[in-house]
Amino acid sequence: MRKSNEPVPWLLFGAGGVVAAFLVPSLVVLTGIAGPAGWLGGALEYERVLALVSHPVTKLFLLALISLPLFHWAHRFRFTVMDLGLRASKRAIAVACYGSAVIGSILGALIIISL
């Protein structure tokens, strides 16, 4: 493991790693493969999905599902880019990565609240 003295990014990285490990495979199978291919019958029908995501608990779940793995990506990508040779501007890389995760999370929150 990398040593890090940045507790906030590291906590978000860890939480995002857990969320991605537990939830993303089934999400990809359902909403990326089986659902669009039509194997789920009417499970992804407009009214059903809208009813499901309108529940406050689902909204919280969706926000965590989208936001935390974005921070996980930001943390990993930040160091991978440097590992692959881009060492010139560490601060710019960090700002771009975490900034993208913040923007994605805000957009996610706005979209999820509007449902």
Partner: protein
């Protein structure tokens, strides 16, 4: 005075299998992030109404998007396996003098993962 930095070729990660697998593991996060953005767009189309939502579902059903989702699934499974594999390095559970063996910690996570995935399938299928 500038410290000496030994130059490392940009292709260092192609030199050994473990280096390559390390970079592959780090890059799984890119595929997961891109997929979650696509999923967020699905939610956005849902908020726009039925026509927009169904058009987007048709787009996701195109062969290229299904193929991309399969690649994302492989990346996501690689993330899950490698994430569980490094857990015993972080989590140490002791009961008195007894240290819970790492295979139990990893095994418990696989059981929990399967249970959570099954629950998500049930929730989506039953609405």
């Amino acid at each position: 005075m500038r410290p000496f930095v030994r130059p490392v070729p940009t292709t260092w990660w192609l030199k050994r299998r473990v280096y390559f697998l390390f970079i592959l593991r780090e890059l799984t996060s890119v595929f997961i992030a891109v997929f979650l953005i696509l999923f967020l767009v699905l939610l956005y189309q849902l908020s726009l109404g039925r026509a927009a939502y169904e058009t987007y579902l048709d787009f996701l059903a195109s062969p290229g998007m299904i193929a991309f989702a399969v690649v994302v699934l492989i990346a996501a499974l690689y993330h899950t396996v490698t994430w569980f594999a490094l857990l015993p390095n972080i989590v140490v559970i002791r009961i008195g003098e007894y240290r819970v063996p790492s295979i139990l910690i990893v095994g418990a996570n696989y059981v929990a993962w399967i249970a959570v995935s099954a629950l998500i399938v049930v929730i989506i299928m039953r609405g």
